[in-house]
């Protein structure tokens, strides 16, 4: 067992870190205030091929695997969770097309997405359901060679960017959940104003309204009625990105605590001299190290999925530990800062708002635990 990086992995990590420090960090406050990621950052990510890290070159990807992807997203999210979330939701959706799409679908949709010319979305949540996709009420009614989609999707990442969106709806003949690839901004597609989230600003979150959206039958992703396994598998891959995002935010919060503990003085000595601070630093290090290796391992597992149920369990487990740790780390780091941490002038207050959201995304922690124990108890 070798836990070191190859030179290529180390360089990939370094490249993402350098880009993030140079081009994202100086704008991170602005992104937080304006809830929008400047175009130049998205163009920069595209230029470095960071929108297609895990996908085959044949479809425009960089062939860096999910193992490479986790390293990149961690470094990007270290400077902005919002930018990390754009990458994560996008990669989740492109990945679903990659796994379940026909050759034609892959050739049509993957290259512009991998090149960052388009940014993809994945839509299952509705006003009435998030954790329980079986209760999806959006409809798809067959009409000749097409399906007519109607419904409302809630909290959809990247819904404002042009590109494909994978939509889950109940197909009327089979009465089963089915996945469709839809071009955003086609006729009948509209979006709400962006939600004002407490954190992860810049990662756009909107409701999507589908009003008689006509989708050709060739845009069914997988088979009619196969939507549920696609959703499960897609979200499992999505948890690779969400974990990496949470990890990046955690690293930033950990670094802020270390910096503050050494800088802030009390009666002439840095507060790092206090045992209470030292114990917190140890907690931060333990949580970060545990999360880091789980996340990197999940990247490796995503490149080598053998049994989807086992992968779903590992993804749920990693996502839960990492997102909960990330929220804990932000809280502990804020404590190290004392009252200053509660001031918007201090970076930790933003990191805290970002981190606290992780456990709510792509299935809340309670639901992850149901998945984990479900697979374990089934044997």
């Amino acid at each position: 067992m070798d836990f070191g990086f190859t030179k290529e992995e180390a360089l990939l990590q370094k490249m993402a870190r350098e880009f993030a420090e140079k081009h994202i960090e100086p704008l991170a406050e602005k992104i937080d205030q304006e809830n929008e990621v400047p175009k130049e950052i998205l163009e920069g990510l595209a230029e470095l091929e960071l929108f297609g890290v895990p996908f085959p070159e044949k479809y425009g990807g960089a062939d860096g695997g999910y193992a490479g992807y986790v390293l990149a997203v961690e470094q990007i999210a270290r400077c902005s969770s919002g930018v990390g979330m754009i990458m994560s939701a996008h990669t989740l959706s492109v990945g679903a097309i990659g796994v379940f799409g026909t050759e034609d679908q892959k050739k049509k949709y993957m290259p512009p997405c991998c090149q960052g010319k388009q940014i993809a979305s994945f839509a299952f949540t509705e006003p009435g359901t998030g954790s329980d996709p079986k209760q999806i009420t959006s409809t798809a009614v067959k009409d000749g060679d097409s399906y007519i989609l109607n419904g409302t999707k809630r909290f959809i990442s990247n819904a404002n960017f042009p590109g494909p969106i994978v939509i889950f709806a109940r197909e009327s003949e089979s009465n089963e959940i089915t996945a469709f690839i839809v071009d955003k901004f086609c006729e009948g597609y509209s979006i709400s104003e962006p939600w004002k989230k407490m954190g992860m600003h810049g990662g756009p979150l909107l409701d999507v309204y589908l009003k008689d959206v006509r989708v050709p039958a060739e845009n069914v992703l997988g088979q009619i009625g196969q939507g549920y396994p696609i959703l499960q598998m897609g979200i499992s891959f999505g948890k690779v990105g969400v974990s990496s995002c949470a990890l990046g935010g955690m690293l930033a919060a950990y670094e802020e605590a270390l910096k503050y503990a050494k800088e802030k003085t009390h009666r002439g000595a840095p507060i790092a001299k206090f045992q209470a601070i030292q114990l917190r630093i140890a907690d931060l290090a333990m949580k970060y190290e545990a999360s880091r290796w789980l996340t990197y391992r999940l990247g490796y597992l995503a490149d080598n999925v053998k049994n989807p149920a086992v992968f779903a369990k590992e993804a749920a487990l990693t996502k839960t530990v990492v997102c909960e740790n990330s929220a804990d780390v932000a809280r502990i780091s804020l404590d190290v800062h004392g009252s200053y941490g509660a001031m918007e002038d201090y970076k930790i207050s933003r990191l805290y708002r970002d981190a606290i959201m992780g456990p709510q995304i792509e299935g809340v922690t309670d639901m992850q635990k149901m998945i984990i124990s479900g697979v374990i108890l089934k044997g």
Partner: protein
């Protein structure tokens, strides 16, 4: 034409910690010097303009085969490496002898680029020594390189002035960091770096004997930075304090 960029493998300085004023190199990965990366970037621009091949030349220990991928990812087409574990900590004259010998093995070299000094020792000698061995002109401290037919117009950044010179090829040029911003390589460039052609030779194959180390480092200490803890109550006082310290208004 071939353009050569000489780059040095050094410890990643961002990861070097200082303990008891001594640098700690334990677990610090190798990288290439920052100014060397500017030289490489200048090489990439010239290569594109001249439709030339860009070859990175380096001498170092066995880690170099891995470290050099950084240059291959950032635009070098090939690498020519002199590798031996005795080359871990060599003096500038030995480096220059090895690099000059390596460059002699490459045909049709028109431009040889260096950083003005290496990221670790910064002795700034190797380029001049190589130019001397190869009997080539050297233009130091380039902040701008412009093609002018078969020659180059180089703006040199000197302490108090700039100098514009014209030089015929082949030539040795050292660059300063202001010359450009080194690019960040994209994912596939990184992943494919290891597949680019690479020639590895030993000093012995170049018929160069590595003598015993002629330079012994007696002491290498980080400067002490004691905080002066001067409290000022107004901007005027601050200006006065800084002037007294000789930091402004010189």
């Amino acid at each position: 034409m071939n353009i050569v960029v000489a780059m040095k493998q050094i410890p990643d300085l961002q990861q070097v910690r200082i303990r008891n004023r001594q640098p700690v190199f334990e677990d610090v990965p190798y990288t290439l010097g920052n100014i060397d990366k500017n030289a490489l970037e200048a090489g990439v621009a010239l290569k594109e303009a001249l439709d030339a091949k860009l070859i990175v030349v380096s001498a170092g220990n066995e880690e170099l085969e891995d470290t050099i991928k950084e240059a291959l990812a950032a635009g070098a087409d090939e690498a020519y490496l002199v590798i031996d574990d005795s080359l871990d900590n060599i003096a500038s004259d030995t480096s220059a002898t090895l690099i000059a010998a390596a460059i002699k093995k490459i045909d049709d070299v028109g431009i040889i680029l260096f950083g003005e000094g290496s990221g670790d020792n910064y002795s700034g000698q190797v380029a001049s020594r190589v130019a001397e061995i190869l009997e080539l002109p050297e233009v130091g401290y380039a902040k701008e390189i412009e093609l002018n037919g078969q020659s180059l117009r180089v703006t040199r950044s000197l302490e108090e002035s700039e100098e514009l010179v014209e030089v015929e090829l082949p030539t040795v040029i050292t660059v300063v960091s202001e010359i450009n911003e080194a690019r960040i390589p994209a994912v596939t460039q990184i992943l494919k770096a290891g597949k680019k052609p690479k020639e590895v030779v030993s000093p012995h194959e170049l018929e160069i004997a590595i003598g015993s180390v002629q330079v012994t480092t007696l002491s290498n200490l980080a400067p002490e930075t004691d905080r002066k803890q001067i409290v000022v109550k107004s901007v005027d006082e601050l200006v006065k304090a800084l002037t007294t310290e000789g930091l402004i208004g010189r």
